[in-house]
C-alpha cells in the first residue's frame, strides 16, 4: 500500500480492526438475542408448537417497529440507552449498541423464516414419537433449520458491514468513517478507493465463508 503514507496505513489497519470489532460484537449479540426471539415468535405463532397470540402479537410488533426505523434515526433515538449500556455515546463501543439492536430485530425475522422452512412432517413425526416441546425445539427445529440460520447470519453480517459505516458518522470509527473523513472531506480519492476495495473483499470473504458453512451443514 505504498500509495498511502505510513500514517494512513496505520489508520487503515486500525479502522479495519474497528470494523471487525463492531460487526463481530454486534452480530454475536444479535445472534444471542435474535435466536431465542425467533424461536419464541415461531413457537407462539398460530399453528405453532404452543400458539399464544398474547405473546406473539406484541413481540412481532416490537420487532417490526425496530426493523422499520431507519438505522440512522434508531441510532440517535436510543442515545440515552446507549449511554446507559456503554457509558458513552461515542466511539466503537457505543456504536455496537444500536448496531446490535438493529441486527437483533433483523435477524429475528430472518431466523423466523429459516425456522418456518423446516418440514412440518419432521415435527409431526417427533410429536408422534412422544417428544416434548422442548425436545422438538432443541433436537429437531434448530438442527433442521441450522443451514438456514447460518445463511441468515451471513446476510446479517454483510448488512452490518454497511450499517457500521453509518455508525462512523457518530464517532464509531471503522473503515466507513475513515473513508468519509479522508477520502471525502479531505478529498483523498486513493484513501476512498482503498477503503471501498477492502470493504468489498471483506464482504466477499464473509459471504464465501457463510456459503461454505451452509454447504457443509446441509445434507439435502
Amino acid at each position: 500500500m505504498s500509495w498511502l503514507s505510513p500514517t494512513l496505513q496505520v489508520l487503515l489497519v486500525e479502522a479495519l480492526w474497528e470494523t471487525v470489532v463492531m460487526v463481530g460484537a454486534s452480530a454475536a449479540i444479535a445472534v444471542a438475542f435474535g435466536l431465542p426471539l425467533a424461536l419464541l415468535l415461531h413457537v407462539t405463532a398460530p399453528g405453532g408448537l404452543s400458539p399464544n397470540a398474547l405473546l406473539n402479537r406484541p413481540l412481532g410488533l416490537v420487532v417490526n417497529a425496530t426493523r422499520s426505523t431507519p438505522f440512522i434515526i434508531l441510532m440517535v433515538a436510543i442515545v440515552p440507552f446507549t449511554r446507559l449500556v456503554a457509558g458513552t455515546s461515542i466511539g466503537t463501543g457505543a456504536a455496537i449498541v444500536p448496531l446490535a439492536l438493529a441486527a437483533t430485530a433483523f435477524l429475528a425475522r430472518l431466523f423466523e423464516n429459516a425456522l418456518r422452512e423446516v418440514d412440518r412432517g419432521v415435527i409431526e413425526a417427533a410429536r408422534a414419537m412422544g417428544a416434548t416441546r422442548l425436545q422438538i425445539v432443541v433436537k429437531v427445529l434448530v438442527p433442521e433449520a441450522l443451514p438456514g440460520l447460518v445463511a441468515a447470519t451471513t446476510v446479517a453480517l454483510v448488512s452490518l458491514v454497511g450499517f457500521s459505516a453509518m455508525a462512523g458518522a457518530v464517532g464509531g470509527g471503522g473503515l466507513g468513517d475513515l473513508g468519509i473523513r479522508f477520502g471525502y472531506q479531505r478529498f483523498m480519492p486513493e484513501v476512498m478507493a482503498t477503503v471501498v476495495v477492502i470493504l468489498i473483499l471483506f464482504v466477499q470473504g464473509l459471504q464465501s465463508l457463510g456459503d461454505w458453512l451452509v454447504r457443509r451443514l446441509s445434507h439435502r
Binding site: 412432517g121 408422534a128 414419537m129 433442521e144 451443514l217 445434507h219
Partner: protein
C-alpha cells in the same frame, strides 16, 4: 429376533380360545375443522390385536385425520379413543407421550431428519425417551438388519432411495418396541415394485414382532396385498367394513365396488367384442362379470347355463387370483339368447353363490 420383545405374549391358561382384545378402539369419533370441513363423522372402529387393518378411501375422505386421532396428533371433538386398553383422551401430557411411544408411525413422505444419518434418525425416538447411548447403539444394531439397512447406517436421507428412506422410517417407528404400527400412505410415494417390497417387509415384521398394523391407503392393491380386514371411508364415515376377501368379492357400496374394480375388475377387450357377430334377431346379448369363490369349477357352470337356458355364452376374458390366501376366479362373459332366458341364467348363477355383475356398455 428373540431379543426384540421383552415380554412375549403368553396365552392365558384355561382360556386358549379367548378372542384377542382390540388393540385400537374408536367409538363415535368426530372431528370438524374450523372452516367447516367435517373430516370425521362419528367413526367407530375396532382393530384387533395382531391384525393388519386397512382403511381405504379417496382423497379427502378423512383417512389421515382418522389415523392421527389414534395417537392424538389430532384431538377429536367427540368420541372415545382407546389404544391397548388405554383411554387416550384421559391421559395427561406425560402419559400421552408414553402412549405415543408404544405406537410407531410411518409417513408417506418419510419425515426423516435431513441432518441426521440413518443410525441417528433411528436413534431419535430412543434419545427422546432418555435411553442411554450404549443401549441406543445396541438397539440400532438390531434394528438396521431388520430392515436391511446395515450398509447405510452412516448415510444421510438425501443419499437414499425412496424405498430405503421408508425402511429408515419403519426402523425408527419400531425403535421403542411399539406394539402398534400406524402407516399413513406409507407406500404412496413409491413405485409399484418398491411398494411390494415395503408391504412385504411390513407383513414380515408384523409376524416376527407380533405387531398390530393400522394402514391407510388409497390403493386397493395395497389392501389386497397385506390386509386382513378393511374399512372403506367416504366423506368422514366408514361406509363398509369387513374381511378383505368378503369386501373384495361382495362389495355392497358403489364406492367400494369402484375401488374393488381397480384390482379385480377385468378389462373386456373392445376388439373381442367388435369381432362378435350381432345377436340374431329377437335375441339380446348381455355382458356380465362373474366372480367365483369357493369350490365352483368354472367350465361346467358355463356349459350348464348354456344348456339349461339355451344361451350362447362366450367367455371374453378370465383369470384366477387370490386374496389373503383365498383363491377366486373372475371372468367376463357375453350371454346371448332371449331376454328372459339371459336374466334367468344370471339369477340361477347368483343362486349358486356366484357374484354376477352386469357390465354396461
Amino acid at each position: 429376533m428373540a431379543s426384540h420383545r421383552p415380554l412375549p405374549r403368553v396365552p392365558l391358561p384355561g382360556q386358549p380360545d379367548r378372542p384377542a382384545p382390540d388393540a385400537i378402539a374408536l367409538d363415535g369419533v368426530s372431528r370438524r375443522f374450523p372452516g367447516g370441513a367435517v373430516a370425521l363423522d362419528e367413526v367407530s372402529l375396532a382393530v384387533r390385536e395382531g391384525e393388519v387393518f386397512g382403511i381405504v378411501g379417496r382423497s379427502g375422505a378423512g383417512k389421515s385425520t382418522l389415523i392421527r386421532t389414534v395417537n392424538l396428533l389430532e384431538r377429536p371433538d367427540a368420541g372415545a379413543v382407546r389404544v391397548l386398553g388405554l383411554d387416550m383422551l384421559a391421559l395427561d401430557d406425560a402419559g400421552l407421550r408414553a402412549a405415543r411411544r408404544s405406537t410407531g408411525m410411518v409417513f408417506q413422505h418419510f419425515n426423516l431428519h435431513t441432518r441426521r444419518t440413518v443410525a441417528e434418525n433411528v436413534a431419535f425416538p430412543l434419545e427422546v425417551a432418555g435411553i442411554p447411548t450404549a443401549e441406543r447403539r445396541a438397539r440400532i444394531a438390531e434394528l438396521l438388519p431388520l430392515v436391511g439397512l446395515e450398509a447405510k447406517r452412516d448415510a444421510y436421507p438425501a443419499q437414499l432411495s425412496g424405498g430405503q428412506k421408508q425402511r429408515v422410517g419403519i426402523a425408527r417407528a419400531l425403535a421403542s418396541r411399539p406394539r402398534i404400527l400406524l402407516c399413513d400412505e406409507a407406500t404412496s410415494a413409491l413405485d409399484p415394485e418398491t411398494t411390494r417390497d415395503i408391504l412385504a417387509l411390513i407383513g414380515d415384521l408384523r409376524d416376527r414382532l407380533d405387531l398390530t398394523v393400522l394402514l391407510i391407503t388409497h390403493e386397493m392393491a395395497v389392501v389386497k396385498a397385506i390386509c386382513d380386514r378393511v374399512a372403506v371411508m367416504e366423506a368422514g364415515r366408514i361406509i363398509e367394513e369387513g374381511r378383505v376377501f368378503d369386501v373384495f368379492t361382495r362389495p355392497a357400496h358403489p364406492t367400494t365396488r369402484s375401488f374393488v374394480a381397480e384390482v379385480i375388475g377385468l378389462d373386456v377387450p373392445e376388439a373381442t367384442l367388435a369381432r362378435m357377430p350381432p345377436p340374431p334377431p329377437g335375441t339380446i346379448r348381455r355382458l356380465a362379470q362373474v366372480l367365483f369363490t369357493g369350490p365352483h369349477a368354472t367350465c361346467p357352470l358355463v356349459s350348464e347355463a348354456s344348456r339349461r337356458f339355451d344361451l350362447d355364452i362366450n367367455i371374453v376374458s378370465g383369470r384366477v387370483d387370490e386374496i389373503a390366501g383365498e383363491p377366486f376366479g373372475v371372468m367376463a362373459l357375453a350371454a346371448g339368447g332371449s331376454a328372459g332366458q339371459v336374466g334367468a341364467a344370471f339369477a340361477w348363477m347368483r343362486e349358486l353363490g356366484l357374484i354376477v355383475q352386469e357390465l354396461d356398455r
